[in-house]
């Protein structure tokens, strides 16, 4: 039992733990972010005298950062105030992010990085063909039809009907 609890990042129901470990990490990240933003705000120049009475640009952001830090400090003990809500959150976040989600993130980032080179039409085509296949679609004919028809319809709708400019990308050089 004690071995299980040492790996269990959720606090034991006995209330023996002072802080919720995962929320402690989360709070640390938020506090670090807040501290960084506070430091950045101190670098803002003061309002010129010619503007007369006005609040400096750093006042409001600094108040917000202090509020953020105060709220973040409550996070690690929130499980004692609203235990049922934190249990619900723990149930979801204790499920690991599965590989397909990481792959999806990498795919999206890759496609967007290439999109200025590919252009709008090719980007849509690549998205429409890569995602279903990587996500396990076995009906290749359906994928092929979808990859051609859907981007074409979207292109026609936005470029021709709505008059939206779409970057040609590499297709410009093939004309």
């Amino acid at each position: 039992m004690s071995d299980q609890s040492s790996h269990n990042l959720a606090p034991e129901k006995s209330g023996a733990k002072m802080f919720h470990r995962k929320d402690l990490w989360l709070a640390s990240i938020l506090i670090a972010f807040g501290a960084f933003m506070y430091y950045e705000a101190t670098k803002f120049p003061s309002a010129p005298m010619v503007l007369g009475d006005t609040l400096n640009a750093d006042v409001f952001p600094r108040i917000l950062v202090v509020m953020l830090i105060v709220l973040a400090c409550i996070l690690p003990i929130e499980f004692k105030i609203t235990p049922e809500k934190i249990e619900k959150i723990d149930k979801e976040r204790n499920e690991k992010t599965i590989p397909i989600t990481w792959i999806t993130i990498v795919m999206i980032l890759t496609i967007v990085s290439l999109s200025s080179f590919l252009g709008a039409a090719l980007t849509m085509f690549v998205t429409a063909i890569v995602f279903p296949l990587v996500w396990g679609e076995k009906n290749y004919i359906a994928v092929a039809i979808y990859a051609v028809v859907f981007p074409m319809l979207v292109y026609l709708l936005f470029h021709e009907v709505l008059g939206l400019y779409m970057e040609p990308g590499v297709l410009e050089y093939l004309k």
Partner: protein
């Protein structure tokens, strides 16, 4: 009267009617599809409506909002997978009634009670909005600051997993709104050497990222999930006798939903749950709830659609969003050059009546679509996720790029989506951040003006009775979610 006629005449132009029906169709579709939502659809549509006439654009979004709330009940009833959060309560009895062999009756009850709830709230919206706007005209910066503060404090009781996380998200949203040039002093804030940030972080790419991309990543782990589907043969309207038996529940839920919708930040989801609970409380047969009881369907459905109309009241009259979705409609109004708040009523009153007309048509529209297209919409759930979500991604990429033809916005969208996904996993909701982002500008402006008026003495703010009133409401709304738990903590000790 002239403004009413002008507004309604704008709506009843053929082009605008078509746009409204498009909004209704899209709303029912996205409402029906689990994973898609009205806020997401509005965020995706926003950049594309720039080319539309403002009345048409906003009417389309208002119609989408109304229809999306109903659309969620279709999948809630047929496959026990609410297409939208407000339909969660509908699923409790709607799915059970469908399992008993009466899916058409369940859909009919949901449709009719939604229409009645929506119509009642629209009438209240029509009368309450100008009255509230007239009151708000007397507000100065200090009163507006108090109101915006109260609106943000309501995030603590907004539907979500954790009040503290909602508040953190709200404050973060306000902080993000400070990026860019500070208008009062000309100082560039939080730009980190990136020239594109001098204009601030545009809300449309952030909205698309938070609602569409983060949901896409969430859905990536359920691609192979099997769903038990039930085809509805036809939507069956309730009989007059049935409606008479349910009229108390419908009227009560409609009033409750409208009131909750008017409260800042509370929307259809809270209204639906309260509508269900109150229907059960007042029912002569509460033990039947959860087994396919008609009151368990009409209660939440009337309330959640009534909340849609109610939420438009503070959005248009005060410039304070009544819900997460109306926060996006507020952003759309700003994008189209309108000034939400009392000046919208005084300067462009026809806009308010046009929105009223659009919502009126939408409520009838989704009933008609439900009657004719129930079978079609039940088949929508057969669209494989492996084709649905790449389509959403394509629309997201085009939408975020087209907003200002800036590639930087696509990266903002992606970053928002990825951070939003991990934030969702840790119990944060996107709606509070959106509220903070939308209200941030108003909050800072009114705070700055008030501090100048009162020589930077915050305690002088309490000279204003209206500010004291909103301040007390703020304290109550911040503490309400915790009362029960804090009392329990002290009892244990």
């Amino acid at each position: 009267m002239d403004d009413v006629l002008k507004g309604l005449s704008l709506i009843f132009e053929f082009k605008n009617i078509m746009v409204i029906f498009a909004g209704v169709l899209i709303g029912v579709l996205v409402g029906a599809l689990p994973g898609l939502s009205s806020p997401m659809a509005i965020a995706l549509l926003m950049p594309f409506t720039i080319s539309l006439d403002p009345v048409a654009a906003i009417s389309m979004m208002a119609a989408l909002y109304c229809a999306g709330t109903f659309g969620g009940s279709i999948t809630a009833i047929l496959i026990n997978a609410p297409g939208a959060p407000p339909a969660v309560a509908t699923a409790l009895d709607g799915y059970q009634m469908a399992k008993k062999g009466e899916p058409g009756r369940a859909l009919g009850l949901a449709a009719v009670s939604s229409v009645i709830g929506g119509m009642i709230s629209i009438v209240i919206f029509l009368f309450a909005t100008p009255l509230l706007a007239e009151l708000a005209l007397k507000f100065g910066p200090i009163e507006y600051f108090g109101l915006a503060l109260f609106a943000l404090s309501m995030l603590a009781s907004m539907s979500g997993k954790s009040s503290i996380r909602n508040l953190i998200a709200g404050v973060t949203g306000v902080l993000i709104s400070t990026v860019g040039v500070h208008l009062a002093t000309g100082v560039e804030r939080f730009e980190f050497g990136i020239p594109e940030l001098s204009e601030g972080i545009k809300f449309v790419p952030v909205l698309i990222g938070l609602f569409a991309i983060s949901e896409l990543l969430t859905q990536s782990k359920t691609l192979n999930d099997a769903v038990e589907r039930m085809n509805a043969k036809a939507l069956r309207l309730p009989t007059i006798a049935e409606l008479k038996a349910l009229k108390g529940t419908i009227l009560r839920s409609s009033g409750l939903g409208t009131f909750i919708g008017i409260l800042p930040a509370e929307g259809s989801t809270v209204a639906a749950m309260m509508g269900y609970n109150e229907a059960k409380r007042f029912s002569k047969t509460p033990e039947l709830f959860g087994t396919g009881c008609a009151e368990g369907i009409v209660g939440p459905e009337a309330a959640n659609n009534a909340a849609a109309g109610g939420a438009m009241v503070p959005t248009l009259a005060l410039g304070i969003p009544g819900s997460g979705t109306t926060a996006l409609i507020l952003a759309a109004l700003v994008m189209h050059g309108f000034r939400p708040g009392p000046y919208l009523i005084t300067e462009t009153p026809h806009m308010v009546y046009a929105i009223f007309g659009a919502m009126f048509i939408a409520n009838i529209g989704f009933l008609g679509i439900g009657l004719v297209g129930a079978k079609f919409f039940s088949m929508i759930t057969f669209i494989p996720k492996r084709f649905l979500w790449p389509s959403v991604l394509i629309f997201s990429l085009i939408g975020s790029y087209s907003y200002s033809s800036a590639f930087f916005d696509v990266w903002v969208m992606l970053l928002s989506g990825i951070i939003g996904y991990f934030a969702l996993r840790n119990g944060f909701s996107p709606a509070p951040l959106v509220m903070g982002l939308i209200l941030g500008g108003m909050l800072e402006e009114t705070f700055t003006q008030s501090m100048v008026i009162y020589d930077s003495n915050f305690f002088k703010f309490f000279d204003s009775g209206v500010f004291v009133f909103f301040f007390i409401l703020t304290i109550i709304s911040l503490s309400t979610p915790f009362w029960g738990n804090i009392r329990r903590l002290f009892k244990k000790k």
